[in-house]
Symmetry: C2
Amino acid sequence: MSSASQRLESLKNQVLYSGPATGKEDIARERANTSFDIEAMKRFWAGGQESYDAMQKAYAMIKDDPELIVQAPRNFHELSREEHREFTMGQIFKSVQLFQDIKDPKMLEALRMALIQYSESFSMRFYVHEFLFKGALNMFGTEEQKEEWLPKIAKCQVFGCFAMTELGHSSFLRGLETRATFDVERDEFVIESPSVTATKWWIGMAAHTATHTVALCQTYIHGKNHGINWFIVPLHDRVDGELVPGVITGDIGAKYGRSGLDNGWIQFKGVRVPRGNLLGKWVSVTRDGTFNPAPNPAVMYGTLIPERLSVTTGCQIMMGQALLIAARYGVVRRQGAKNQQIMDYQSHCVNLMPGIAFQYVLRLTERVLQAQFQNLTSDGKMDPKTYLENVGDMHAVSASFKAASTWFGSEVLENCRRACGGHAYSAYNSIGAIIQDWGVVTTGAGDNVVLLQQTGKYLLYGFKEVIEGRSARGSIEYLNQYQEWLAQDSCKVDDERDWLQPSIAADVLTWIIIKQVCRSLDKTFRTNYQEAFNDNMLHIVRVAEVQCFTHLLKTYITAIDDLEKEQSNATNNTDLADIPTLKKLASLWGLHVLFKYMDFATMEGYLTATQARSIQHLYYKTCMDLRKDVIGLTDSWGIPDFIHKAPIGRYDGDIYPDYLKTLVNAPGCFGPPPYHSKYIKPLTDPSLNP
Amino acid sequence: MSSASQRLESLKNQVLYSGPATGKEDIARERANTSFDIEAMKRFWAGGQESYDAMQKAYAMIKDDPELIVQAPRNFHELSREEHREFTMGQIFKSVQLFQDIKDPKMLEALRMALIQYSESFSMRFYVHEFLFKGALNMFGTEEQKEEWLPKIAKCQVFGCFAMTELGHSSFLRGLETRATFDVERDEFVIESPSVTATKWWIGMAAHTATHTVALCQTYIHGKNHGINWFIVPLHDRVDGELVPGVITGDIGAKYGRSGLDNGWIQFKGVRVPRGNLLGKWVSVTRDGTFNPAPNPAVMYGTLIPERLSVTTGCQIMMGQALLIAARYGVVRRQGAKNQQIMDYQSHCVNLMPGIAFQYVLRLTERVLQAQFQNLTSDGKMDPKTYLENVGDMHAVSASFKAASTWFGSEVLENCRRACGGHAYSAYNSIGAIIQDWGVVTTGAGDNVVLLQQTGKYLLYGFKEVIEGRSARGSIEYLNQYQEWLAQDSCKVDDERDWLQPSIAADVLTWIIIKQVCRSLDKTFRTNYQEAFNDNMLHIVRVAEVQCFTHLLKTYITAIDDLEKEQSNATNNTDLADIPTLKKLASLWGLHVLFKYMDFATMEGYLTATQARSIQHLYYKTCMDLRKDVIGLTDSWGIPDFIHKAPIGRYDGDIYPDYLKTLVNAPGCFGPPPYHSKYIKPLTDPSLNP
């Protein structure tokens, strides 16, 4: 052993790790006092006993594999960009092999879930190929195109990415600059980036991994622009990984979050692709250059619907881990004159509990939402007529869902960060990484403000339709009864306890939406529409948020009722959800949304000051009532310590020694630093600076 | 040239940087259309012509110095933790030398400001020594102790740090575990960390740099605990940087933010210091171990007042840079069917403008606040009686100021991030780094929730005093007129334009505070005090926020009036602020605070729905009225491009080519990546995965 390592060992041995283990006792007591069966809730959460078992197997399969999980004393949070990129690609390589050997679909799903829970970079890098690239083929490709590409995608013989955004263009897709110009002589499209702002930007896997991309381009034929369409374009050689002639890609470099993903930029410099590389489900170009347009430009709206709905999973994984860490820290940490658990403080508990409730709302509603959009999210087999009839509502629901949930997510994560105090400033406690990985969700896949404005416009148009005698459908069907709603000019609730009924919260929120849509219409339809809309943008954004959260609330209420019926017929009770708890969470979610947006109703005189104060009081009270279950509610998500990685979120509550140990094992823990003689000694040494 | 570098050069040469330079034209037009003289405002902002010139000199002095500023093609945002630590210490080393050669105090201040604008790590690392360590000496040291230590501090013959927080203890200082036990025989204190949770934690410079620390310890003498006091304790040898016997320190490791600062942990294992190392301005221990306590335990409250007030500078530097970047990007970026500048959208402009107004509020009020606390913030020469009479109000003002401003700052920074869309996800555009560096400000130097509760309690007690016939002073003097305020049961404003008067906003806000304090008192004094306070925590926190922002608003109004008088006597006008603009910003700040907290007044029926809607309307309108000055308002802060480092925030508006160039020059831009043959080729090569 070298003298340097001897010195290091000696220092490590001097560190004191012992102390009162109050955390272990605290967390054990929390579990013992939980009002429901945590083990049953865990199994329910996982999707039943079989899925739960599969998850346990998946965790066991990956936990000690150094290609899938960073093994101590190395720390995931210490990976440099280079290391993280390589590690993530290694995870993909290894997991592709594992996936091929697994036949049980539950097991396949479990393994995939365990891996994406562990790393957002893995999740996103794989997702771009499996979901965005494949999804574009499914949604926009002909049967022949699917036949050609899907098997290659499945075996990762190609890696695909999704080139939509450009350096100068994002939300307004019609403004994209990249061109695909038809060369009728050679029967090819020529793909070109005409300026720096046309550079495709942020394209996941484009820098180094993807062999191909789908690229959204303005389609020029015989000098005429036929609008934006998708083209398959090769990027990197499948054998040596070199750039395909006519393509230049590079890495986006340092980012805040997901450093294991090679987000790239792409410039096309006259790269040629066969005519058949135009994805041709809705549009086609004949040999002579005749362009057959889509039946409706709305088909393009569908592009990002699946991605926006998939945020349900991202929310559960990222918010879930942060909430779990904050919850455990909150019951272990003691502070104040009475040495209280900080979770006991109203100001602490109320900041965390709504996020926890939201997880349950998502878990129960995601099945409903995914089922509604099944045809769109899986293999695009919905017939064109049905598709076009439904795509507007799908778009409105998914757009507002993505936007409102990810904003709420930012709030929840920031609350988690604050709830962990300085210890969230440490990279080793994961909250910082989660916040970074989260950030992009609020601006990617459609800017949240733009998305909410689109849902807002959908509400306004829907209402206009209803006023003009047609009827509203889907998520805004309730608008048909607008007259009955508006006939109420004040809220009749006078027994405070009624606010605990989520359906009553949903009613007030429905009234708010209809009333505020009317107010918007006053301004947007009766004067210059565009100008008025512009003056009214922030109002419309907020109304669309209410629409989203109320839709989720109603869906959750129905989902609990359905579940209650279903569970009443169950023959065993080891994987059943605790219905009273789910209902309490529904009360809380209703109160949370109501509290957040009730100013719309108080300002209209619909709610009195007394009612508003009751809502506030019950909102806080319901949070505090759920306080005793905070550990059970977060334990139920079944996230093992090696997945969330945070010492302060340890299952056993013994957080401090492990946290200190992590630091002691990190590179560069002990001084003197390499630059001591260069920069410190010349000042502090009395002989040098007398 | 090697073939690898030839290949790289050839790739770089293929990149397209050209495109329409609309950004340059846009930003030039914005400047031309600004309603005030930007150059004069710049000089005003800097503190007058002389200070402005000094700043320009300082920028010129550091701009091309590779020891002070990372020079292209290297990028500050690419520094690893190791490199950042070394670079930051190099900056300190170099700047200490520069400082010694400068005699002009304006120039000294300018150089210091330029350096802290450039790097939060530098700022904090230097600040710990110069401000916290020295500040503790000034505030708690005897004259002899100051005589001994201050000259050494000035010459950096010692580096000092500030060991307050422990792994298990933060806001509740009385709970600290570290012990200083008096050994009467040897006339020494023995400093000991009795458990893992007693480890001093987050201590800036403790890991590797500091030769000494002040440490807050429980003072045990003859078996009795005399409470917490400050002790000077050596950490590292001044010559070789090795640990002093009985001390073990290590680095906190990976953090979210300020990676150039060696935050450390410290365990004391029986290190001995002379009795004279107890800082003895307020307390003393005689040779035989008699403890003479402080006249009032409140002296300890003062510890962090200067740090909390210094947040004014941090706000201006960090929020200022983020706002400037977002503002410039917002007028250069065009999007939507009409290819509009995104700043023209209400939903964009309203999210940025209040933060910009806040900068001006801070700039004008900081002088007032600092002057009030001069004795405390500089050399602690205030006499004990005056100190004790004022420390409560100082504490309340500084605590709520730190908490409310840093929370608002988080909101502003998040808005800036969203306003830059995906481009804030890139590390090269600085917003991510600023957000990271900011995070710790909201949890360090006192948890914001706890601080606001303290100001809230101060309000409650102040009000109780007034009811009981005593009088309130300082920042809550207005409570003395509580009866007149409460006699108003509705707001009399009926001309919408009146809301533009900030004094009217201040009046409504004052009413809100008094009314809500009454509501809190109902709950906190008439039943079990502690329980009621706990049930009411969130309410009190929010009332304290109103108190803070209203105090700032009133101070800003007065400061503008004073400035207007002062400027009317000025002989030249090249460094004068534009008073009408400052007044518009006051209107906006008043409306912003009112809009944010007006639910307190609508719920009480004090404001009608019509009034509330007018406030909302004028709030948005005032933001949009200031839209045309957004570039002038942010240009006035005089921040050069090399300081903020973000290509999308370039002064000349030509953002895209520079941004792309930054990526092209970053390490690892071009593939194939080192792991291609290991992880990608085996899948994509048709001969290997057929």
